[in-house]
Symmetry: C2
Subunit: 452 residues, 2 copies
């Protein structure tokens, strides 16, 4: 599988270069691209396939926090990290961490050298695609692998992170892995139970972790250069623009609201239209208002994904409707204003129809801006590999959002077919993986120059 690791010709080509705190010489970009990226990208694709086989369900990919499947995934990915010259460990919550030392270590674990973090998550949703999360970890390993096979060390250490939980399937949580490293994990969450009644603390222990030591697993801010995450776009902007990759400007904030419309049930046959207080008609008006508002506000996405009408009989006028509203924007003030306007709109609809409206905010997260310096650098590097570059906002949340509490973050999105994600249909072209690897390698080189 890993047929490119020790190709003697390529090693000979750039293997003799010594990195002593600064980037002394770089082989011409086109030679690297032509001779090597192709194979590393294929290695990533082969590993994606191998990792995609590791599931807790027989016929589909599901890999949740602290499951036996996660154990096997960590073991396999750990073996690839080791083959790429990294020291491998698991932290107290089960995050997989591969350490690639800096040049000129001042001590055994070079406490003087800064650390650049790369990675993404290794857990999945139920019936997942193979690329979400995994791609970011494997691209990072591929980049370190090339450094290692060329005996290159950078002025900073690299840690590749395979987060134990981003999707939150098992405990309906978010970013358990990255929150532990960022020091924002709430120990109260250890008491939460999964569907089988297993507490999070028990799950971590049975996985080999240490729920009592989570606080000390926090990384030291002062040692860090930043965090770069490669991830599939999960949208179709890159596909539409025919771009392989794009730097992320910000990770959108989100407001999730439950709205209840309380009208009056009645016999569908006997209540005249002008005497009705139909909760579903009020809700339908609101659904269209949500869509209309988001369409007219740049960058805003708003979705009614759940709806239930009660009592739910074909011959009864709905007396009650419950629905969800998911509102996202990379600017928090825009999102808050949109929510306020939607709430007013719902109230107005209710008033006009004598339908009571209850507005209940379930969940709110602030948007996270990617670090301007790192992201601008990333964007410039993207231009080397495709005719044009764009900044994309990320609608979905990512580990980078949690890591931003700890260190400057940047994200690189990779085009995925049809924007499909959280579905077995997730698909990424090997050529786009090649570009992602090349951009990340350029990023490491450029950072090495800056850090020198």
């Amino acid at each position: 599988m890993c047929r490119c690791w020790y190709r003697p010709g390529l090693t000979a080509l750039i293997g003799g270069v010594e990195w002593i705190g600064k980037l002394a010489w770089l082989p011409p970009q086109d030679i690297v691209d032509e001779l090597m990226n192709a194979d590393l990208a294929r290695t990533v694709m082969e590993r994606i396939e191998a990792l995609g086989q590791i599931s807790e369900e027989p016929d589909r990919l599901t890999r949740t926090f602290c499951s036996p499947a996660m154990r096997r995934a960590n073991d396999l990915v750990g073996s690839w990290m080791r083959a790429a010259g990294m020291d491998v460990r698991e932290d107290a919550i089960g995050n997989l961490i591969g350490h690639y030392p800096a040049a000129n270590p001042k001590s055994a674990r070079e406490p003087g050298a800064k650390v650049l973090l790369l990675g993404s998550h290794l857990d999945t949703v139920r019936n997942a695609g193979k690329f979400d999360g995994a791609l970011g970890v494997l691209v990072a390993i591929a980049c370190v692998q090339r450094l290692f096979q060329n005996q290159i060390r950078l002025p900073f250490a690299i840690e590749v992170l395979g987060f134990a939980d981003e999707e939150g399937v098992r405990y309906h949580s978010t970013y358990l892995g990255s929150k532990v490293l960022a020091g924002t994990f709430d120990p109260e969450d250890l008491k939460i139970t999964d569907a089988e009644g297993v507490t999070m603390a028990q799950a971590i222990r049975s996985f080999g972790g240490h729920p009592g030591a989570l606080a000390s697993a926090k990384l030291e801010r002062r040692h860090l250069l930043g965090y770069l995450e490669v991830h599939i776009e999960q949208g179709s902007v890159l596909e539409e623009k025919k771009f392989s990759v794009g730097a992320v400007s910000a990770i959108a904030g989100q407001t999730r609201t439950r709205v209840r419309f309380l009208g009056r049930a009645g016999h569908a046959a006997t209540v005249p239209m002008n005497r009705r207080r139909d909760a579903l008609c009020a809700a339908a008006q609101f659904v269209l208002a949500v869509e209309n508002h988001a369409r007219r506000s740049a960058g805003l996405v708003a979705t009614v994904g759940e709806i239930a009408a009660l009592p739910g009989s074909s011959n009864v006028i709905p007396g009650e409707v419950n629905l969800s509203v998911d509102v996202r924007h990379s600017d928090d003030a825009t999102r808050a204003a949109a929510c306020a306007r939607l709430r007013d709109h719902a109230k107005d609809i209710g008033k006009a129809r004598s339908v009571d409206v209850k507005w209940h905010v379930i969940h709110k997260t602030r948007s996270v801006a990617c670090d301007r310096g790192l992201s601008e650098m990333l964007n410039q590097l993207v231009k080397r590999h495709q005719r044009e570059s764009i900044f994309l906002p990320s609608g979905a949340g990512h580990d980078a959002a949690a890591m931003a509490a700890l260190t400057p973050v940047a994200m690189l999105f990779v085009r995925c077919k049809g924007g499909i994600s959280h579905h077995p249909g997730e698909s990424v072209r090997v050529g786009d993986v090649r570009v992602a690897i090349a951009v990340m390698e350029d990023f490491l080189q450029t950072l090495a120059r800056c850090d020198a």
Copy 2:
């Protein structure tokens, strides 16, 4: 309970009159009203309470076709029929029939005399109110009771019908009882099973009926004068107009349709608004079109009572929505035209949004006009008892709709509180029951004059 049956004073007052084929003498209306209607209406209310206790569920009223509760209900109502001078029998499907003979029988069962049918159904929906169905049977018994206690016989026989199944809860059927009498019962239905796997034939047999003899239970058209049914309005037109009762013009036809909207699911965070094919937004537009269309078309009611969005997650754009549409109008052509327009509208919405629309008609019934002569007579009689009268269309179906295939039908609606029905909150005033009894008694008298 039945404290009015043998009140000596009243019996003395009008008891000596002999009916010999024609109405010879009537006591003044105001005396009847003042001295007797009050008590008969109270009797009906007390019986409503007693019958409302007979349920197959402990804490709520549910009485379904051929259940042990129906057995007890038939036995109790049969005892009231007997006390009102009727011969009581059950037909092959379990309809309870009380026969009050005509004057001057030409033989034991006066085959020469015509028969007037009165009644309604004795089954209920789940968690029912006490008045739906029962009121019509008990008002009819009360009217016969007064004839009997006053030793009055009319030139025609009266049969009071307590239908075994109108609501169709157990077999998802309609009008099983009245269809047997009308000769429109489909014997294929005997094979249908209930939730416990009991076939309709088994249920009828265990109730004491004769599934093989249903065809011969059909009434002879040439013997019949017509069918009059008293029923709660299940709407609020009478309440709004402050009327106790009103004659029904027609029983609306109904079309029940299932509409499927097939768009494309996607991540709520990452698919831009202009790239969506949101099935729920299309459905919402259609829900409002249904309402709008019905509002602008006199007498049309149209309802979306069921809606389901798939996959049904707050963070996923709905890829599919299924909903029900119930359309009713007393004019079949108007209803058909409305359905056609709604279908076109759904297709247009789908086209504009790249959402596929599937239209599937589940169920269609034609409207049934009440007999003009009987209904006009009823309407004139209503005017004697309230300052004004109106004809109401019935949105909901009733046994009268099935009986119309056999004989001219008329219906008298009684005001119910808030239009609430199919709910424990069903409520009828004793004063309105009094008016319903008085109108039915006038109806019998008038018909006796005509038939004489």
